[in-house]
């Protein structure tokens, strides 16, 4: 990642282009009989990625099967939040997708930091809370009261107490 743009086939003639200015149709420079979509790079200022384990240098084990490493490699700064801080994570560590410290700006110890989603081997999704969130997000007023109850002015510890101790128990 870090490339300025990326080509992809598809989408010609769709209304997607009317609503986005980050993709255009352009000639394939190696085959001028072909046009493809060219999408401008997405380079987030900050990516915050939740890991199973991290070491203090920033090497970490991210969730498997995600796009987290690609996101990190496209971002200007990367904050890893982790269930556990351990002595050392190497590329051979099993149980997650390895990301090396060269990609990482900061590491935060954040047990239960994925709540209300889950982390394999640590805790399950909190479906009840996800339901609460979805219900609250159906209109502005109920979402504002959700934020006031759980987020605005709350510390992480206060949030964790509010969403019950249940999620702190390892799922087995």
């Amino acid at each position: 990642m870090g490339v300025p743009y990326i080509p992809v086939r598809g989408l010609a003639g769709t209304d997607v282009f009317e609503r986005r200015d980050d993709m255009i149709m352009a000639k394939n420079p190696f085959d001028t009989d072909e046009v493809t979509v060219v999408a401008v790079a997405q380079n987030p200022d900050v990516a915050i990625l939740h890991a199973r384990k991290a070491d203090k240098d920033g090497n970490a084990l991210l969730r498997r099967h995600g796009e987290d490493v690609m996101i990190a490699q496209a971002s200007k700064r990367v904050i890893i939040t982790a269930e556990e801080i351990v002595d050392r994570i190497t590329p051979d560590e099993i149980g997650g997708e390895y990301i090396s410290a060269i990609n990482v700006t900061a590491v935060v110890h954040a047990p239960c930091g994925a709540h209300p989603t889950g982390v394999d081997g640590y805790y399950d999704m909190d479906l009840e809370h996800i339901d609460t969130y979805i219900t609250a997000s159906t209109d502005d007023a109920s979402f504002r009261s959700y934020l006031e109850r759980y987020v605005i002015g709350k510390t992480e510890a206060e949030y964790q107490r509010l969403v019950t101790a249940r999620v702190l128990e390892p799922a087995r």
């Binding site: 769709t14 009989d33 046009v35």
Partner: protein
């Protein structure tokens, strides 16, 4: 229950059987998330007429060793033979909409297919669309949002194969060269006028129009036994298979 067919055949079973017949042996076929009907149709084809197909079922615990990105890159390099889509609207020009209903700036419904379907429908060699109804709310003169277009300039490299579209009333196809929908066959119990009345644009209907051969006892039996058991034992939408695919007791 679907009008016109054996009262023991559900809409889901009808679409599963019809699509399974059109899978060609040795094809690499894939479906996306929450695709019970496509998954069952691939497994039925594999159990009957197309035993050598490669199936990619993202929603299956055991039948797919693939991730979303595997399908993405497979189809980008032109190696995916068949992909399944549904959509909420189809129009006369061969556009489909799987994104929003109503004004895109203030939609009455938001749907998930703003992007992925707009890639796959250009890069898979063949596309099977299906709808569990056939009505003028689905077949409209102009879609509210173009998620995918059928007619594109020649510089857009894509398969020449027509889209095929399966509904509860007919099988249709959209020919990119003539830019027109044609009915290939009409299901038992429906007439050409039923299709015209329930399609919000002009569609070519041959005269006389072939009748879709209804799902046979054998196809339904295989679906309700072998395919059902395979879906349950492999974690391929097992609750759905248990509920929808059932041997009917007389």
């Amino acid at each position: 229950m679907t009008k016109g067919f054996s009262p023991t055949c559900s809409t889901e079973e009808l679409l599963i059987v019809l699509m399974s017949r059109d899978i060609r042996d040795w094809e690499t076929c894939a479906c996306g998330a929450l695709s019970m009907i496509p998954a069952a149709s691939m497994l039925l084809a594999e159990a009957t007429t197309a035993p050598h197909i490669e199936t990619i079922i993202l929603g299956s615990d055991e039948l797919s060793g693939n991730l979303g990105k595997d399908i993405h890159f497979l189809t980008q390099r032109g190696k995916l033979d068949l992909f399944y889509h549904s959509a909420v609207q189809f129009d006369a020009e061969g556009n489909f909409n799987l994104h929003v209903l109503g004004d895109p700036n203030a939609p009455t419904r938001r749907l998930p297919g703003g992007y992925g379907s707009g890639l796959m429908s250009y890069t898979a060699k063949r596309i099977f669309f299906f709808r569990t109804e056939h009505s003028t709310r689905t077949f409209v003169p102009k879609v509210d949002f173009v998620s995918g277009a059928s007619v594109t300039p020649p510089e857009v490299k894509r398969s020449p194969e027509p889209f095929r579209l399966y509904t509860t009333m007919a099988i249709m196809s959209f020919d990119r060269q003539t830019a027109h929908y044609s009915v290939e066959s009409i299901h038992e119990g429906f007439a050409a006028d039923d299709v015209r009345e329930n399609t919000g644009f002009d569609v070519n209907i041959p005269e006389p129009c072939p009748v879709t051969p209804p799902p046979s006892e054998e196809e339904l039996h295989t679906l309700r036994t072998e395919v059902r058991e395979r879906m349950i034992s492999t974690g391929t939408y097992p609750e759905w298979a248990e509920r929808v695919l059932q041997v009917q007791l007389d």
